[in-house]
Structure formats: structure tokens, C-alpha cells
């Protein structure tokens, strides 16, 4: 199939979408979609000839005929419990195949003015509010996946916290794919707006049911106003044959705080572009990520932290654990704009490579246009540290126990920075289950 044929398929899909389900939206949304589709048509899917996609081929996505707007079996309420945080049930929004499910969601007890809803609903009720923020942060001009997501923008999560409001309980967003008989695609689009001095925690989870092929093409935009704070967690647990492509773009005002914690367990192929713009003095941004890969999994993280104003701080920590024939790619770009003096930026990417066939690629990319800045970066990749292994053995641990403890520590180092205890416990359990599965597989002949 030629690139033009691939694009034509999505154009046809878009035509049907614009006629049917996507029709009842304000004019500006229709215009946004049309512009995005035009941009996607120009860009096409990226190839490995493009620098930003050198290590990650999306040929598998381009060549698969994904059906849009699939109506697979709606999962039973029972089956989503394992994906929830037990103590955070009041602000739970569930999306199935990209569409809000009123049946599975439970949103109650929201403070005055706070909105946790579907984007489709917000477009109907608060079009002006949505218009002020939607597609204002994630650029579609140079990312075909953002363009495609925007061309199909219709539903996803909308979280709005008005000025000065502090949310006690985390907001939970669950994006579930229940694939039908043929491969399907969904384009969930989420918007998190935290106004001045407000505060919220948001947990996004992406998961799939069954073992079918599907593709999630997600975009989340996060706006953190002056003096506001957002703690955002993202757990990617797509099923084994899934494709997951995502962009998370944040914008921060003066003196604001954002922490973003993406954790990757699932999908055959995943690519996550994380962009953070520090656009007011005194902002703090922390990116704290973990990818745990096995089999033939491939996960690619491209992060860009843009220090646009002076006196901002960014801390970036990404750890990868790579087993079997898996591959992890990390590209960490840091831009310090002219005038962004007193920038303090720190980046680390550590990869634990457990098998000779696994591979990690790590690339820092610093672009500094100011002179009074502090920027450090460091990357490691390699097998388990033999010194540490001997140290643990000398305390009585078997080689297997020692290896598994050291591997766990690699993940735990990232999880420790997460402040929501039930989420941390859930993730620790997932990391342990992964290690156990590995230990069992090793023992089997």
C-alpha cells in the first residue's frame, strides 16, 4: 500500500465521521478538524528516514486497516475494577473505544465549579471554555499523529479546576479498548485545565481487553495556570498486540508546579511524545517515567522541555528495564530560550538491560540559548551491576533473589516519587508481577 493510499483511507474514514457521529459540534471544531486532516494529508505517517522516528517504525500502523468508531462489546463493570485505584472511585471517568461511558463512570462529590466529564459533553455545554484551550498546546503542524487525532476530535476527558480550588481526591481517567473482530482505532483527546492556584491530581490509565490488534492514538493537553499545581500519572497497560501512540503536551504559568509520571508496561509498539513548556518565571516541571519491557516490545519516549522563561526548574528521570528482545528508546530534548536565565535543568535516563538481545537507545539533546544556566544530563545502559550483585550475595541473598531485588529497585526508584499511595502500591505490585513472570519463564526449560 502506498503512502497516498494510506492517507486516502483516513480521508474516507474522516468523511464518514464528519457526516455521522462527529456532526453535532460547533463550527470552530469542524474547522479545526478540517485543518488537521489537511495537515495529516500533507505529512502522512512518519518513516524511519525522519530523525525523530529513526528508531521507531510505524509501518505496522500504516499498513493495518483500522476501523474507526468500533462498537466492541462494552466491558462489564466488574472487569474494570482491577484497573482502578480502590480509594478513588468518586471522580472516575471511563471511556470505551474512545467514547465516554456513563454506565461505567462514577463522578460525584466534585467541588463547586469543577468539571470531570467527557469532552463531547463539554463541547456541548461549555464550547467557549473548551475553545480557549483545545488544540492550543499540542502542535499538529509537525506531528502526523496529533494531526490525525485532532482531525477526529470528538471525545475524551475534560477536567477543569477553577481558580483557587484544591481537589483532595485524584481524578481517574480510564481509557479502555474492547476490540471487535477487526482491528480498531480510537483517538481519545483529553484536556486538563488547572486555573490559577488550583490543585489537582489526575491518573490516566490506558488498557485493552482481549488479545486483538488495536491502536490507541491519544493526545492529552494540560494547562497549569499561575501558582497552580498538577500531578499527573499515566499508566499504559495496553494489551500485547496493541499499538499505542500518544502526545502529552503541557503548558505552565508563573510559579506553577507540574509533575508527570508515565509508566509503560504494555503494547507491542508504543511511542509517547511528551512536551512541557515553562512559560512563566519560577515554574517547576518534573518528568518521572518508567518503562518495563519484555518479549518483542518496543517503547519510544521523546521528551521536550522548553524553558521559555527565567528561573524555572526541570527534573527529568526515566528508567527502563529491558528484557528478552525488547527495545527502549529515549530522546530527551531540553531547550533553554534566550533570556531564560537561571534555568536549572537535570535529566537522567538509566536503562537496565537484562538480556543480550534487548537494546536501549538514549539520546540527550540540549539546546541552550542563555548563558546563566545549569543543565546536566546523564544516561546509563547496561546489565546488572556485578558489584551490587556480589554485595547482596555477601549478605545471604541467592543470585536470583539478588538480581530480582536490583531489578525491582530500578523501577522502585521511579515509583517512590509518586505521591498517591494506592497508585504506588498498585504499580509496585505490577512491577513485582512482571519480575515473577520473568523468573518463572527463566526457570522453565
Amino acid at each position: 500500500m502506498t503512502a497516498a493510499q494510506v492517507v486516502d483511507r483516513y480521508r474516507a474514514q474522516h468523511e464518514a465521521f464528519a457526516r455521522n457521529g462527529g456532526a453535532r459540534v460547533p463550527e470552530w471544531v469542524r474547522a479545526l478538524r478540517a485543518g488537521a486532516l489537511a495537515r495529516f494529508t500533507e505529512l502522512g505517517f512518519p518513516t524511519t528516514k525522519q530523525e525523530a522516528w529513526r528508531f521507531t517504525s510505524v509501518q505496522g500502523i500504516a499498513e493495518t486497516a483500522f476501523a474507526h468508531g468500533a462498537t466492541g462489546e462494552v466491558p462489564a463493570a466488574k472487569s474494570i475494577e482491577r484497573l482502578e485505584l480502590c480509594e478513588a472511585r468518586r471522580h472516575l471517568a471511563v471511556f470505551v473505544n474512545g467514547c465516554f461511558s456513563a454506565l461505567l463512570s462514577s463522578v460525584s462529590g466534585l467541588p463547586a465549579g469543577v468539571r470531570v466529564s467527557s469532552l463531547a459533553d463539554a463541547l456541548a455545554r461549555d464550547p467557549e471554555l473548551v475553545e480557549r484551550h483545545l488544540a492550543r498546546y499540542a502542535r499538529l503542524e509537525d506531528n502526523a499523529f496529533v494531526a490525525l487525532n485532532t482531525a477526529f476530535v470528538q471525545d475524551g476527558a475534560f477536567v477543569y479546576v477553577p481558580e483557587g480550588t484544591v481537589m483532595e481526591e485524584p481524578v481517574q481517567l480510564l481509557f479502555l479498548t474492547a476490540p471487535g473482530s477487526e482491528p480498531t482505532v480510537s483517538h481519545p483527546r483529553s484536556l486538563v485545565v488547572v486555573e490559577r492556584t488550583a490543585r489537582v491530581s489526575v491518573v490516566e490509565t490506558y488498557a485493552g481487553q482481549g488479545d486483538g490488534v488495536y491502536w490507541t492514538n491519544a493526545v492529552t493537553e494540560i494547562m497549569v495556570g499561575d501558582g497552580a499545581r498538577a500531578d499527573c500519572y499515566r499508566v499504559q497497560r495496553e494489551s500485547e498486540r496493541a499499538f499505542h501512540v500518544a502526545t502529552t503536551q503541557s503548558w505552565q504559568g508563573q510559579g506553577s508546579v507540574l509533575s508527570f509520571h508515565p509508566v509503560v508496561f504494555g503494547a507491542a509498539l508504543s511511542r509517547h511524545d511528551i512536551g512541557a513548556v515553562l512559560d512563566g518565571p519560577g515554574g517547576l516541571c518534573t518528568l518521572n517515567g518508567l518503562y518495563l519491557l519484555a518479549g518483542r516490545q518496543h517503547a519510544d519516549h521523546h521528551t521536550t522541555i522548553d524553558h521559555a522563561r527565567p528561573h524555572c526548574e526541570s527534573h527529568e528521570y526515566f528508567n527502563g528495564v529491558l528484557d528478552d528482545q525488547s527495545r527502549g528508546v529515549f530522546n530527551g530534548r531540553i531547550i533553554v530560550r534566550r533570556g531564560a536565565q537561571r534555568t536549572d535543568s537535570k535529566q537522567t535516563n538509566n536503562n537496565l538491560v537484562l538480556s543480550e538481545e534487548a537494546r536501549a537507545d538514549s539520546q540527550p539533546q540540549l539546546e541552550i540559548y542563555a548563558d546563566d544556566v545549569k543543565c546536566t544530563h546523564g544516561a546509563t545502559l547496561g546489565p546488572i551491576d556485578q558489584r551490587a550483585l556480589f554485595y547482596l550475595k555477601s549478605r545471604g541473598l541467592s543470585p536470583d533473589e539478588a538480581r530480582s531485588l536490583l531489578t525491582y529497585g530500578f523501577g522502585a526508584e521511579i515509583l517512590e516519587r509518586m505521591e498517591i499511595a494506592p497508585l504506588r502500591v498498585q504499580l509496585e505490585r505490577l512491577v513485582r508481577a512482571r519480575l515473577l513472570r520473568r523468573a518463572r519463564a527463566r526457570r522453565a526449560p
Binding site: L392, K393, L397, F410, I414
Partner: protein
């Protein structure tokens, strides 16, 4: 408890130990002193089973058994403990979790029940009380971001919890100021019992002001060239090592 006979060991083809003989009995404290490069740390590492060192000749019996038949973890479970000169940092694992894992590995080996976190906390508090320390190191990742003194203190803390029969302290005094040295030495003294033994490896005599050895040995050129009582340490302090006419030291 420990009989070392004619021990030769090499690393990367360089022979470092060239016939060490040493016997340590239960209840005793032995100090092994010597100039830099004499093989002191090599001896400590060989006893713990570090894979970089090749034993080329000789034998070591630990409680009547061939030490070299035991893997490092088995030596540890059988009561041997090495306080590392350079403790290793382990990110993401708290000291408490690490110590409980180690203690449980040893308990399992002895046929004792494993301890859950609550029971472990009880054991830990008791040990901390014995050595008079607080639990400030326990919830930090193992040695990660510890100062030099904290790392050394952490080794002794592990020793207190794991209750070894034979402890080998490898240059535990290096890098410690006088207050830290006293704290560490006092803890080691409190852990001394009639049914255990300690080997203190040190370059300087000053640690032996606080931990009184029963025997002092001078290791030079990979062999023990002189042995004596605690007064030998004072003699070394006054005269240095040169008068012992050591064979050329090994780097």
C-alpha cells in the same frame, strides 16, 4: 573457627596473596595491619568469595568446612560477614527492605521462620538499642546518597542485625573522623560476644585504640610477616612498616 593455610590468590594474573597462614578461634579479635598494597583487602574479599579473585593454592577451613566449597551467599548464611571498604549503592531499595530480605535468607537457611515487616521492625529496634543508634538510615535507599561515614555506619548496622559468627571489617575506619570512628568502634565492641569472632583489617593503629585486639598480624608482600599481641600495634604506630623488611609490595 577459621584456619587459613598457605593461601595464594591472584587477580588478573597478578599474585597478591603469597602464602597466608592464620588461625582465628572463637571469641577472638584479630587485627590485620599492613602497608598499602600488602594484600589486606584482597584477603578480606577472598574470604567473602569475590569472583574477581582466583585462589591458586592453599586452603581455608571455616568451622571445619572447606570455605571454597561455599558460594558467597552460603558463606553469609553460615555466619560470615564482610563489612565492605567501599559499600555499594543500591537505588530504589530501602535499607529496611534490604536488611529484612538478607535476614530472612539467613533465617530460612537456619530453618527459622521468615519475619514479616512488623516482626522485623521489632528485631531492628532491639538491635538499634544495643548499639545505641537511631533508625534514620533505615528508610533511605541502600547507601544511596550516604556520606562516607554513613556508609561505614550502615555496614556495622547490617552486622548488628545479621549477627555473624565471623565478621571481617575491611578498613572500616578509613574516611571516618574521630567522632564517627568512636561511634563505629563502640558499636563493634557491643556486638562482641564469646561465641563470635572478628577480624579487623586496617592500615592505621588508631581504630585499635577503641577496638582492642587479642592478636595483631602484619601483612606485607602477601604474607603475614609478624604476629603479636596488641602492643605490636603500638610498635607499628611508632616505627612504621619499613623495619619489617617486607618483600616488594604489590600495587
Amino acid at each position: 573457627m577459621l584456619q587459613i593455610k598457605n593461601l595464594h590468590a591472584s587477580v588478573d594474573g597478578n599474585e597478591i596473596l603469597r602464602g597466608v597462614d592464620l588461625a582465628v578461634n572463637i571469641g577472638e579479635v584479630h587485627a590485620i595491619m599492613g602497608p598499602n598494597g600488602s594484600g589486606k583487602s584482597t584477603l578480606a574479599q577472598v574470604l567473602a568469595g569475590h569472583p574477581a579473585y582466583n585462589v591458586t593454592e592453599g586452603s581455608v577451613l571455616y568451622e571445619g568446612r572447606d570455605l571454597f566449597e561455599m558460594d558467597p551467599e552460603v558463606r553469609a548464611r553460615e555466619g560470615m560477614f564482610l563489612a565492605f571498604q567501599y559499600p555499594v549503592e543500591i537505588r530504589g531499595i530501602t535499607n529496611a527492605y534490604f536488611l529484612r530480605s538478607a535476614l530472612n535468607a539467613i533465617r530460612k537457611h537456619r530453618g527459622q521462620e521468615e519475619l514479616d515487616p512488623v516482626d522485623f521492625l521489632g528485631v531492628l529496634e532491639e538491635k538499634l538499642k544495643v548499639i545505641g543508634w537511631d533508625d534514620s538510615l533505615m528508610n533511605r535507599p541502600v547507601n544511596d546518597g550516604f556520606s562516607g561515614g554513613e556508609k561505614k555506619r550502615n555496614e556495622i548496622l547490617q552486622m548488628a542485625v545479621l549477627e555473624p559468627r565471623l565478621a571481617v571489617l575491611d578498613e572500616t575506619d578509613s574516611g571516618l573522623d574521630i567522632d564517627a570512628l568512636k561511634t563505629v568502634a563502640s558499636a563493634v565492641n557491643k556486638l562482641r560476644r564469646p561465641d563470635n569472632a572478628t577480624i579487623v583489617v586496617t592500615h592505621y593503629q588508631r581504630l585499635l585504640n577503641y577496638i582492642t585486639p587479642d592478636y595483631v598480624h602484619v601483612l606485607s608482600g602477601g604474607r603475614i610477616v609478624k604476629s603479636g599481641g596488641k602492643e605490636l600495634a603500638h610498635e607499628l604506630e611508632a616505627k612504621g612498616y619499613d623495619w619489617l623488611k617486607a618483600e616488594p609490595a604489590v600495587a
